[in-house]
Each structure stands twice: as C-alpha cells, then as structure tokens.
Symmetry: C2
Subunit: 462 residues, 2 copies
C-alpha cells in the first residue's frame, strides 16, 4: 500500500522545501504514489512546486506531471527548460500524453522541445498525434502498442514483442497485422503464454481473425466511450480508412472521457462552468458563476416586464400563484430536457423517432398536468381562495406544464441537430424561458377568464 | 466488425420469430454482438424474447442475459426453469454476475438454482458473494482470478494458471500469495512471458513485492471507483482484514459504477427518479416525475401563503420583482450545492475544512450579490421604476444571493454528514426552499423599507 497523504504530511513537505533539506524531502515523498504527489504539488506555491518536482526521479516526475491540475501543470512547465521537458519528461511518457503536454506549451517552445527529442520515431509519432482534431479517437489514442506479423513464428513474435513492450505498462491485447500493417485480428497474452510450448508454430495458427471492434481516427471520443462501455472493452484499436493499425485507446483514457462528459452535463444543469471546482480561487469561482446568474436575472427582468404589461395593480391577487406557476414550469422543463439529454448520450439505432418522442412527452405532460391542476384547484378552494382565481391558476398550470414538457423535449433535440450540446437546454436557460412563458400563459388565461368568471360563487366550500 | 443493429433488422427478427423460422433467425443473429442482441431483446415482447433467447448458443445467451435491462431480464428469468438458469446461464458467467442474477430471483428459485449447480466450488463462491452488503467491494468483486504461490517455479505456475484461466477473459495481473493466501505482490503477464525462457526460476525472483493497492471487502464501491480512477488501475485486488486475497474488481465493473453515480447525481439535479429512461412507458415516466412536481407545487403553495401574509394587494408593485428574486435565489443555491456535491465526490485529505468552505462561499456569494444588486438597481432605475422599489429589490436580491450561497453549501454538507446523498440538495428541493425564503426576505425588506422610503424622489433618472 502507498502512504496516505494528510495535511500534516503537506506541512512537513513544505518545511523541508523551505529549509532546503533534500534528503528529508526524498524520504517523505519516496513512498507516495505519483497521483498523490500530484495532489500535494497542486497545493504548493509555484516555486515550491518546481523545487519538489526537481527532486523527483525521472520516471516518477513524468507520472506526477501527467496527474497535475492543468493550470498547475502549465505553471510548472513554464519554469522548466525545453531540454528538461524533452529529455526528462517526454521521453518517459506515452505518445498520447506527450502530444497533450506539448500542445499546452507556447508555440516556439513546442518546436524547441520536439527538436530536442533524441528518438526521431517518437518525435514523428507525437507530431502525427498533434495533427488529429481534438475530441477524435486519433487525438486520444497512443501510438505504443504490441503488434505481430501474421507470418511470424511464436518465438520470433515474443522476441519482437519484448522490444515493443519496453514502453508499455499494460499489454492487454496483441494485434495481428499483415505486411501492409492492415489489422487482421487479435491474440491474447493468455493464448500466447500457453502456446509458448510450441514456439515454432506461426501466429496465423493462433490468432482470432474475426470480429475485432475498431474505431477510425476520426471517430468522436464520445462514440469511442459508448462503444467501449457497451461492449465492455478494455482497449480498442484505432485504424485509418484502409484498416491499417494506427494506435490504441485504453479504458483509463476513456474513463476520463466518461467522467468529463458527466461533469459537463452536471455543470450545465446546475449553471456553473465545467472546469471549475470548489477548491478554486474566489475570483475563478465568481467568474464561473456570474454569467449564469446574469442570464437568470435577464429572465427575471423580462418577467418583470410581462408583469408590468398585464398591470398587476389591477388584479393584485394574481401575484399569489406566480411562484407556483413559474416553479412548476421550470421543474417540468428541466425534467423533460434531462431525459432527452440522457437519451441522446446513449443513442441507439432502435430509438423512437423525434416525432414519437414528442407525442409521448405530450401524453406524459398532459397526465402530469391534469393531476397537478386538479390538486391545485381543490387545495386552493379548501384554502378559501376565490373560485375564479382557482380556475385561472389550475387552467394556467395545466397549459404551462404541457408547454414546458414539449419545449423541454424539443429544445435539446433542436440544439443537438445543429451540433450544439443539448445539455445547454437544462439548467438556467430552460427555467428562465419557462418562467417567462409561464407568466405570459398565466396572465393570458387570467385576462381571458377573470372577467367571464365574475358571476361564479366566491368559493366552492365556503 | 460486428453487424450493426437497425430497425429493419429488428422487424426481420420479429417476423422470423412469428413464423417460427429458426434457421433464418440464427442467420440474422449469428454475427451480432451479445450487447446488440440484448438491445434487440429489450425491444421484444416477453414471449418473443424467450423464443429468441432459447435459439442462442449457451455462451452467447449468457452474455446477452447480463446485458439486458433489469426489468426485461427479470421477465425473461421468470420464464426459464431453474435447471436452464443453473446449467445454461450460471455455469457460463463470472461469479460476481452469477451472484447478481441469482439475487434477483424469488427466494425459493434462488435455492433451487444453487442446489442445481454442478460445481460445489462455484456454488459456495456465489453464496459467499451474495452475503456481502450491496454497494461494497465484496459484492462487486469476482472470485475468478489468477494467483500463484510464491514458492512455485515458472513452469509450475504456468501449468496452474492454465487451469485457473479457463473461465477468465482478461487476465490483467497475476497475484502472488503465500501458503495462507496472504497477498504478497503482483506479477505481470509481460514479465512472465519474457521470463518463460528460464522456466525453472521461482516466482519469488520475479514478482514485485511492494505497493500493491488493495481494497477491503467492506470498502464502499464509490471509494473503489475513486481509487481506480485516481491511480489509473484496470484491476484491483480485494482482501480481507488479514490481507488474504478474496477476489478482484475489474475496470469494466467500475465504469458502470462511475456511470451510475453520475446518472444518479444528474437525475437528482434535474428532478427525475434515477432509473428511468425516455424509452420507458408513459406510466413509468409519469410516476418517476410526478413526486418531484408535487414537492415543487408544495413550495409554490407555501409561496402563495407567504404572499398572502404580506398582503400583496396593499403593495401590488412588489409583485413585479418576485420572479427575479425567486429565480436568482434558486440559481445561486443550485450552483453552490452542485460545487459541494462535486467536491464531496472527489474528497481528498487536503480539502478545505467545512468552516473554510463556508467562509469562502460567503465571499463568492457576497461578491456575486454585490454585482447583481448593483446591476438590478441601475437597470430598474433606467426602466423608470420607483426608487423605493429599486432599493427594495436590490437590497432583497443581495440578501437572497448571500443566503442562497450559504444554504446551498451548508445543506448538502449536512446531508452528507448524516449519511444522506448530498445530491438530494440540488434540484427541486433547493430551488423550492430558496423560492420561499427568497420571498420572505423580499417582503421582509419591502415591509421595513417601503414606508421609510416614502420621502425619496420617485426615480433617479426621470
């Protein structure tokens, strides 16, 4: 087991840095996992971070760098020389991580670092990866993989694999290719290890030829994540249009994609910018939250305008059910939109058509609307409100719920069709829109009904 | 590549089932991945599902069963005999999945199925797993793993592993134990395959002894997921209090846990029950959404009561900014609560204390409150509202934002301390509470100020 990090350990490390006690520092950090070391460095001041980073051994340092928060990493990278980055860092990490790190550098430093790489093959791999569009399988994949030629014997394959696997932590699957690097199939370590008694048999006799699930370099990462989740894959090979093996994507990278997707949807639904955390500075937090509040306030001012137009002073009792109408409209809209966002994330060929979705949502919405408006009618009557107001509130509530169901379904579907993230439709946007439309419906119904209903008894029960 | 499923394929499969054309059916389903077959079966009527399921070969059928939606699986299981479940299904799946499937059966069928299992070892493994509490590592782990004794030679280890690995798809890591099954370290397939030239060397010479990250059978699955995410693990060994190896948890199970956690938080934030999908029946959807709407309506009625108490007919112009106050309070509360929920999900030893969190949130809240209330003051003045109303609205807005920041932070922290899911504090609950408190603050401020402010000029700008 690794040592657990604590606040006391952090304090001790800071003291050792301040006093320049390198031996004590090494002793403190020696048994820490790189991910924990990264958490410590995230908490340090920039100059402390550089000091600690430089005491780490090469391989540990490289792993730590990859685990740092992005802003801390950029800060630290800016303190390191191009030579340190090229020789100590890039040479010790996978090509996909290397491409990510180098992309974060300023442009002239990017060129310096790549020029300083000793292995030309590594350099060209990294340049390759940097050329794929962000968010595609090509940009996520690593070039490091274990592949064997179909014509090799087991003994030759093992010899080649030993070379290839030097830079690879987890092998997972061995890919079988032909002379043109076209992917033919896979071979498991298990098969190979148990075949190693017959070292002269050829790969062609051992490998599984059919049904390798692949993705193209241009496949969006969300689709890669969905495939790997659906088919329970730990690694997926990435090929080009000619089915030539280009790289592989491993489950740990996909776990990050899944987590990011989920965080993004959650952030949009709750009205915060996606990359903010409660540990960030007060200024960052304010900047991440204020825009959403301003959107909401814009909605609030529009509502104020609507209320002004319908002149609340003429029928002030209408004010009583404004919060009810607005809140319910907002809640229904968010529910509908969230269901659509979830459905779009797990899209399937067998899904209902948009048209059927809307019809169904209309049914669900109408049913909920009916139940809610009946409850409100009788509750308000019991609480002694005017019959005309009760009828107005329940009719408006019915219309608002039905409207919110439909708009909550239609808006994210439309955003998605235009390539905009449908999750934008959840959270502040939809509640704000529904607030305003809800009020318009409420006052519209009120305007139409309140005069017609003058002749009714004051209350059903009193 | 597997064949892609389409609506046309689904229709063809249904026709073949209806006509009883088994050969045609086999041809259609032969090249489908079990996960895709499961998606097809999810769409079929129960009797069609059983028919199709019985045409599948044993191993495919078992994989399909595991991928089905829970309600479809239970429906299908209820149609199968105990013998079919034991011999065709349970014998073909991992112990952890077997334990899950059997737990879903009615009690007498559970006993029948276990009694029918041929391998007593499998049966006792399953019973073992069923005894661990839901949501712990013990309940999630599989018993199938590859382990070698530290005293074995490589050649003996390979022989033993060949037996052990019969039921295992992905080996990942080989665990090294002593004579009492105490976990000593790990060995990678890579090391073993490249060591196989020296078949007589012992495991003790090859394995890595230190720093194996383990979890206890009692560790909560969320903690397991966090550990595996943090340390980029694809598999983690599960041990008991004596450090004896009990099982292993693989990343694909953890991906499901991560997705479920994210879905649950998202569902709570958007006010829908967690296990509902847009593909579900109208009745299920209504049932999942109505309770949250009723909570919101309860809040709306409470707001109506507050408005009634402060007698809106006396100062009807107060109604104009009610939506603004309520919406902004709700938005701020949801933002604060969502940040806390995210922070709690990624808890670290180095986190700020609760007290510091509240102080910080107070700072962020006050700053946002200041900006928002200044904007509202001048906008409303520009739009020609009474000065007294503008002052009331901006002062109330300031107080509501500060209050919502604090309550949005404090409520989820408190829920968490009492073992309740903090995500419950996001979504309808917090917006409803903040609606009501917001109105009380607004009318409170209005009550205090409106009379004092009579002497002021009507408007700053006009």
């Amino acid at each position: 087991m690794y040592i657990k990090i604590t606040k006391e350990l952090l304090a001790e490390i800071r003291r050792s840095i301040a006093d320049g006690k390198d031996t004590a520092l090494l002793q403190l950090t020696n048994d820490l996992h790189p991910a924990d070391l990264a958490e410590i460095i995230n908490e340090l001041r920039p100059e402390e971070a550089v000091y600690l980073y430089r005491t780490l051994n090469e391989e540990n340092a490289a792993d730590v760098m990859l685990e740092l928060d992005e802003d801390v990493r950029n800060q630290l990278l800016s303190q390191l020389t191009s030579r340190e980055i090229a020789e100590d860092l890039i040479e010790n990490i996978d090509s996909d991580d290397a491409a990510d790190v180098i992309s974060e550098l300023p442009e002239e430093k990017q060129e310096e670092v790549i020029a300083l790489l000793e292995d030309i093959h590594t350099a060209s791999d990294i340049i390759d990866l940097m050329n794929y569009e962000e968010g595609t399988a090509g940009a996520l994949m690593a070039k490091e993989l274990i592949y064997v030629n179909i014509h090799w014997t087991v003994v030759h394959a093992i010899k080649e694999m030993r070379k290839q696997s030097e830079d690879i932590d987890n092998v997972y699957t061995i890919y079988v290719v032909d002379d043109d690097d076209v992917l033919l199939g896979t071979l498991s370590m298990k098969t190979l290890i148990f075949a190693s008694s017959s070292l002269r048999s050829s790969i062609a006799e051992l490998y599984r030829s059919k049904q390798v699930q692949t993705v193209l370099t241009s496949t969006p990462v969300e689709e890669v994540a969905n495939l790997m989740k659906k088919y329970d894959l730990v690694v997926i090979p990435v090929v080009n249009e000619n089915n030539q093996l280009m790289g592989r994507i491993t489950i740990d990278d996909v776990v990050d994609v899944i987590q990011e997707e989920a965080d993004k949807d959650y952030a949009l639904a709750s009205g915060i910018s996606e990359d903010v955390e409660s540990g960030d500075s007060i200024w960052t937090l304010t900047r991440a939250r204020l825009p959403w509040l301003l959107i909401g306030m814009g909605g609030g001012l529009s509502s104020a305008y609507v209320i002004g137009v319908y002149d609340i002073t003429e029928n002030p009792q209408m004010a009583i059910f404004m919060p009810l109408i607005a809140a319910t409209g907002g809640n229904v809209g968010v529910q509908s939109a969230a269901l659509v966002v979830k459905a779009l994330a797990n899209q399937s060929e067998l899904d209902e058509t948009v048209w059927r979705k809307l019809v169904k949502e209309l049914a669900v919405g109408s049913f909920n609307a009916l139940v809610c408006s009946i409850i409100i009618f009788f509750t308000t009557q019991l609480f002694n409100f005017d019959l005309s107001l009760s009828i107005t509130a329940s009719l408006a509530l019915f219309s608002v719920i039905v409207f919110a169901s439909i708009s909550g379904t239609y808006i994210p579907l439309t955003l998605n069709r235009f390539g905009i993230d449908p999750a934008l439709a959840t959270g502040p946007f939809i509640t704000t829109t529904n607030d305003i439309v809800g009020l318009i419906i409420y006052f519209g119904v009120g305007h139409l009904l309140l005069h017609w209903l003058q002749g009714l008894p004051i209350n059903l029960f009193h």
